[in-house]
């Protein structure tokens, strides 16, 4: 009995211990995770604030001036794997070599509160927002910018920008007459620095397999009717000649309006302008001079009807509603699909991987087909997908400006280094970063100029050097079929997206110059109802459209329009038009 008792005590004790151990380690982790950022946020700035004040007295503002004492700024990041395969494997954003250089040059140290894969970023950031645990420097979309602005959480960047912005950064921000900067200021306070780009980067193109067209003896399609025939042939006539019925026409995934492999360009061909890609409608000027949401216009119906027939005939994947963008990319790289709507950058990814896998594959860019003759793509008035803002609690807002200066500075020739990727420089893991808004056009012009002049290297002496140089070298290597530095697909991707006259930007440029586009007239910040009802309305759209494509009656569209309007759409139309009447630059 005695033995029994002590045994039970031992067992129960060990049980309790193991449970408490498990619990405490869990708690420990949580606390560790939550306390370390807050301590770094509260301790670091206060420690450095003294030094900041001291330095303010002694030195005058320099765009890249070095702080006498380390200034710690916090950031968060959602990241994709590095684009360049030569980057050392297993790297994480906090090991980015750019951060080491930044520390050396300016004595700014970046700490990441958290790092998550890109597709989890939105969610994670919402949670951070909900818990009020914000980093010093934030990359925001317009919706979150609007939210934080309304809650008075953003720091004023006016003075920091005035004093510290480098001439190059100023040049960029003034390149549109200060239009974008003004959009993100309020009551004379600059609340964010917009990373705006050439709006024509959003132009929709039709990417199509030239080698399949040649095999079948068909011409590149210019109208929807021709596209219909080509797409059908891609399904039925075995364009890859492997004697298997394993190809289909047009790539699509479950998000009908997205950043790629979606239907924006398709509908544009019908003169319908449903979306700018994120969860908002595009806005077209109606005959009455008011703005109307493209999403609910009658032109949409014809497009949906064709999609319905495409679905029935197997031109789009029967299970598109289950596929995400990764699956769509898999089909492209696997040579299963011959047509995809998208922007100029496709050759840079994923088409380059396809080319490396199957050297026979030849993708070309076309202006989107329309009802009779080429169609007009939607182009936004302002392309500022993201902005950089600082928390109002940040002690050194100018550090954000210095970091912007730093990234632009790294484009000069003196920082040229062939082994950047291998040394661990990952450009798109560095934030905040702003490009020359005219970057792509500049690359196109400079590279073609150098090619025409038969130059062997780029002689540019400004901050654009590194971008132009890298495309120029890739072009040279692609044309000479030289694969000693990088694979032919990668070289082709850089060349065909940015420099080729019939490539991504080349085709876009033609669209721009021949005025074959329609403007999205709404470029304001999301209105109150868009913010609060947008998610609901988007769900309604996804559900109705997916059903129609999969065979539901076309009358569903009319029902959708009615529900869309009554669930907040009418209010949104009102708000957007109120904005248009008062604030739009016409």
């Amino acid at each position: 009995m005695k033995w029994h008792k002590s045994w039970s005590v031992i067992v129960s004790l060990s049980l309790v211990l193991s449970v408490t151990a498990a619990c405490s380690s869990k708690d420990g982790n949580k606390e560790g995770a939550s306390s370390s950022p807050s301590s770094s946020a509260s301790v670091a700035p206060s420690a450095s604030s003294e030094s900041g004040e001291a330095s303010a007295e002694t030195t005058k503002p320099e765009p890249l001036g070095k702080y006498p004492e380390t200034v710690t700024v916090t950031e968060v990041i959602g990241y994709n794997p590095p684009e360049d395969p030569r980057t050392p494997s297993g790297m994480t954003p906090d090991q980015n070599k750019y951060l080491v250089d930044l520390k050396e040059m300016t004595n700014i140290e970046v700490k990441f509160k958290w790092m998550v894969p890109n597709n989890q970023y939105e969610q994670k950031f919402s949670l951070a927002l909900a818990s009020g645990d914000l980093p010093d420097i934030m990359e925001l979309d317009q919706k979150n910018f609007e939210k934080l602005k309304n809650q008075n959480m953003l720091g004023d960047l006016t003075e920091a920008y005035e004093q510290y912005a480098s001439p190059d950064l100023r040049k960029y921000m003034e390149s549109d007459g200060g239009f974008a900067m003004k959009t993100f200021s309020s009551d004379g306070k600059q609340l964010a620095i917009p990373a705006f780009e050439d709006p024509f980067l959003s132009t929709q193109l039709l990417w199509i397999r030239k080698d399949w067209l040649d095999t079948l003896g068909m011409q590149p399609p210019t109208t929807m009717a021709e596209l219909d025939k080509v797409a059908e042939a891609f399904v039925t006539q075995d364009p890859d000649r492997n004697n298997k019925n394993d190809t289909y026409g047009v790539s699509l995934q479950k998000e009908l309006f997205f950043w790629g492999f979606d239907l924006r360009g398709f509908f544009n061909g019908f003169g319908a302008y449903p979306s700018v890609g994120d969860k908002q409608s595009a806005w077209i000027k109606g005959s009455d001079g008011k703005l109307a949401p493209g999403l609910i216009q009658p032109e949409m119906k014809a497009g949906l009807e064709m999609l319905q027939s495409w679905y029935k005939r197997g031109i789009i994947n029967k299970e598109f509603a289950l596929k995400d963008e990764n699956k769509a990319v898999e089909d492209i790289v696997g040579g299963k699909v011959g047509i995809s709507y998208g922007e100029w950058w496709y050759p840079n990814w994923p088409l380059n991987s396809h080319m490396d896998k199957d050297p026979k594959a030849e993708w070309i860019a076309l202006q989107i087909p329309g009802l009779d003759g080429p169609g007009k793509s939607l182009v936004p008035k302002l392309r500022a997908g993201k902005v950089f803002a600082v928390s109002k609690d940040m002690k050194h807002p100018e550090a954000a400006i210095k970091m912007l200066n730093f990234y632009i500075e790294m484009g000069y020739k003196k920082y040229k280094d062939d082994e950047k990727a291998a040394k661990g420089y990952v450009y798109n893991w560095f934030n905040p970063r702003i490009y020359n808004p005219a970057d792509i056009d500049n690359i196109y012009t400079e590279v073609n100029k150098a090619l025409d002049a038969g130059q062997t290297e780029i002689t540019l002496e400004d901050e654009n050097f590194s971008n132009v140089d890298s495309v120029f070298r890739a072009t040279k290597e692609y044309l000479a079929k030289d694969t000693s530095r990088q694979s032919l697909g990668i070289s082709w991707g850089q060349y065909y997206s940015r420099a080729a006259k019939d490539g991504g930007w080349g085709t876009t440029k033609k669209v721009k110059e021949s005025n074959q586009f329609v403007n999205n007239e709404f470029y304001g910040l999301p209105t109150e109802t868009i913010v609060s009802k947008g998610g609901q309305l988007d769900k309604l759209m996804q559900e109705s459209f997916t059903k129609i494509i999969m065979g539901a009656s076309l009358d569903e569209f009319d029902k959708f329009v009615a529900s869309w309007k009554s669930l907040g759409g009418d209010k949104i139309i009102e708000e957007v038009n109120a904005w248009y009447d008062t604030q739009a630059v016409k």
Binding site: S8, V9, S12, L13, L15, V16, V19, T20, C23, E122, Q123, S126, L127, L129, A130, S131, G132, L134, K147, L148, Q151, M153, K254, K318, E319, A321, L322, S532, G534, G535, Q536, K539, Q542, E543, T546, K547, M550, S563, L567
Partner: protein, 296 residues
């Protein structure tokens, strides 16, 4: 006092659970105040504006809400019943198996999927039932048209329920088996002497013997009647089957996390808790009344 001393290890073992509940179940309850506020995350609970029941009004008038509520109840009730029925049948069958290696093998095999996460299993199920998956290969070998299981509302719901029951049935089965083992063996001997066959023994001894355990499981299950399986559905659903599979939890998730409408999301959560509490109380009372069974 003596009793307390003797039971001390048991009380001691209780503490981690109590702490856990206080921290993770009672602590967050303070957050329910959000349901009555126009909650601004950065202003916090104290500075956000109180708006009474507006959040509830807003949520209840949303056109999806009824559908969502119906889906939740339908899926959860089906799951609840099957979670009692299937393990019960399994346990009764296993109890009759005389070869112990076989019985143990089946127990392990049935219990195993319980430990797999939906994150993994969801992908497997989607692939299994995809257009080119093995299930459709079977369907077409029978000469039928392939079925798009994951894109058809009624099929999808069936798969959701079926796969969840398949995954979780081992747990209740083990509990019921344990209860069966606890029945006094002399009862069976006496029944045999009286000439009762296996079937009669099962009806008159085994089932009444484990009835209290079934009631406990039912009460516990009813508490979660509005939990139709958030993780599973979130991983497996898609816009085409929103209509048949969007449940309160996924709805709150989209509302709260993606649309950042924290107030309404908290309101739905609170609504769900109140219903659950009412249901548990009723069942608990009923179980006490008719079966004289109580936990506390």
């Amino acid at each position: 006092m003596k009793k307390l001393k003797r039971n001390f290890p048991l009380h001691f073992m209780l503490w981690p659970g109590v702490f856990f509940t206080i921290i993770y179940a009672y602590g967050p309850m303070a957050g329910l105040v959000m349901a009555f506020q126009e909650f601004e995350p950065l202003s916090g609970f104290f500075k956000s504006k109180f708006i009474g029941l507006d959040n509830f009004k807003y949520v209840f008038q949303l056109p999806d809400f009824n559908q969502v509520l119906w889906n939740t109840v339908l899926i959860a009730v089906c799951k609840m019943i099957l979670f009692l029925l299937v393990p019960l049948v399994l346990a009764l069958l296993l109890n009759e198996v005389t070869k112990s290696w076989f019985s143990r093998f089946v127990q392990s095999a049935v219990f195993l999927p319980f430990f797999l996460s939906w994150t993994v299993l969801g992908g497997v199920v989607i692939e299994l039932f995809s257009l080119n998956g093995p299930v459709n290969a079977l369907v077409s070998s029978l000469g039928l048209e392939p079925i798009m299981f994951m894109l058809d509302n009624s099929w999808f719901r069936t798969i959701i329920i079926g796969s969840d029951v398949w995954k979780g049935m081992g747990y209740n089965m083990i509990i019921m088996l344990a209860a069966i083992t606890g029945i006094n063996a002399t009862l069976y001997e006496a029944a045999e002497v009286d000439g009762a066959g296996k079937w009669k023994q099962m009806i008159h001894i085994t089932l009444p013997g484990i009835a209290p355990m079934i009631i406990v499981l039912a009460v516990l299950g009813l508490g979660g009647v509005l939990n139709a399986g958030f993780e599973q559905i979130l991983i497996m659903y898609n816009p085409t089957v929103y209509e048949g599979s969007d449940i309160i939890d996924t709805f709150v998730y989209r509302l709260g996390i993606f649309s950042q409408q924290f107030g309404p999301a908290a309101a739905v959560g609170l609504f769900k808790s109140v219903i659950s509490l009412a249901l548990v109380s009723v069942t608990y009372y009923a179980a006490y009344k008719y079966n004289n069974y109580r936990i506390f």
